[in-house]
Amino acid sequence: MADALKAVAADVLADPVFAVCALVAVGAAVLMVTRRNPVYGALWLMQCFLAVAVIFLKLHAPFLAAIHVLVYTGAILVLFLFVIMLLNLQPRELGQEHSRPAKGLAIGVCAALLLLLAGSFLKAAPDGAPFKEVAPVMVGVGDTRLPIPADDWGGVEHVGAELFDRFIVPFEIVSVLIVVAIFGAVVLAKRKL
């Protein structure tokens, strides 16, 4: 286990972009969870999402990185900020927080979860499981085959070809889900039905 930890630490130090982004993401996440005022929490969450988007770029997922910034920071967090401003919470309306022992218990449970996850990851891949070079692939849309060079792996064409070929049914189901959610949100937030 110690060797695996050492291998991962060396791997992180050899990759400064990842090290900085991971540090920013985890730090911003901790600050988000601990801020009392939800506005600051939302802004720290935005910082965390931007760092995660850079991590996606590192993982050869440029399209997902762009979509992540658009959907999470552009749509979801703006919605959060809108709602926070709409509610215009006064300090006394923020409510009480849990007592110190309850918080300690929650942190303890989650630390145990983290140790379990980290331990199993380190045990499963003691060498840090380095990535292989990306190989060019052919993706199919119907009868046509589209060559994806290694540089474009995970790009718009690649994801689009997979999404609209093999995953067309789940994709459409998600679109129905979002329509239902829109109706639900409108009905719930309406003052009078």
């Binding site: 695996a4 791997d11 992180v12 991971a22 993401a25 985890v26 996440a29 988000m32 969870v33 009392r36 939800p38 929490g41 965390c48 999402f49 995660v52 997922a61 997902l64 979509i67 992540h68 959907v71 999470y72 979801i76 919605l79 959060f80 709602v83 709409l86 509610l87 919470l89 923020l94 409510g95 009480q96 927080e97 849990h98 918080k103 929650a106 989650c110 979860l113 983290l114 996850l117 980290a118 990851f121 380190l122 891949a125 840090g128 499981a129 990535f131 692939v137 995970g154 994801v159 997979e162 999404l163 789940p170 994709f171 979002i178 959610a181 639900g184 949100a185 719930l188 937030a189 003052r191």
Partner: protein, 97 residues
């Protein structure tokens, strides 16, 4: 790839701390987003490791579900605040006998 998985485990655990230890429903919803985000990092890392794009498609689905969840969740929050003037999960005890 282990470093990416460790990062994803950390984000997920921090989000779980937020869900369990906070009572402000806005922060709880944001923490759920953080947990989903941690899972997304793991999915993209596995997709890169196996050079299989299924993980990316999964992440798109997660993003769609997260957007729907936030929309409904925030609408519920607004309805709640309008009726009870609170966003504290501990104040919601009307089901208590």
């Amino acid at each position: 790839m282990t470093k990416y998985l460790l990062l994803s485990a950390m984000l997920f655990s921090i989000g779980a701390v937020g869900v369990l230890s906070r009572r402000n429903l806005l922060v709880v919803l944001m923490s759920i987003e953080l947990m989903l985000n941690g899972v997304n990092v793991a999915l993209v890392a596995f997709a890169r490791f196996h050079q299989n794009l299924d993980g990316h498609v999964f992440v798109m689905m997660v993003m769609g579900v997260a957007a729907a969840e936030v929309g409904v969740g925030l609408a519920l929050l607004i309805a709640l605040f309008r009726n009870r003037r609170t966003v504290d999960a501990g104040d919601l005890t009307t089901l208590k006998g």
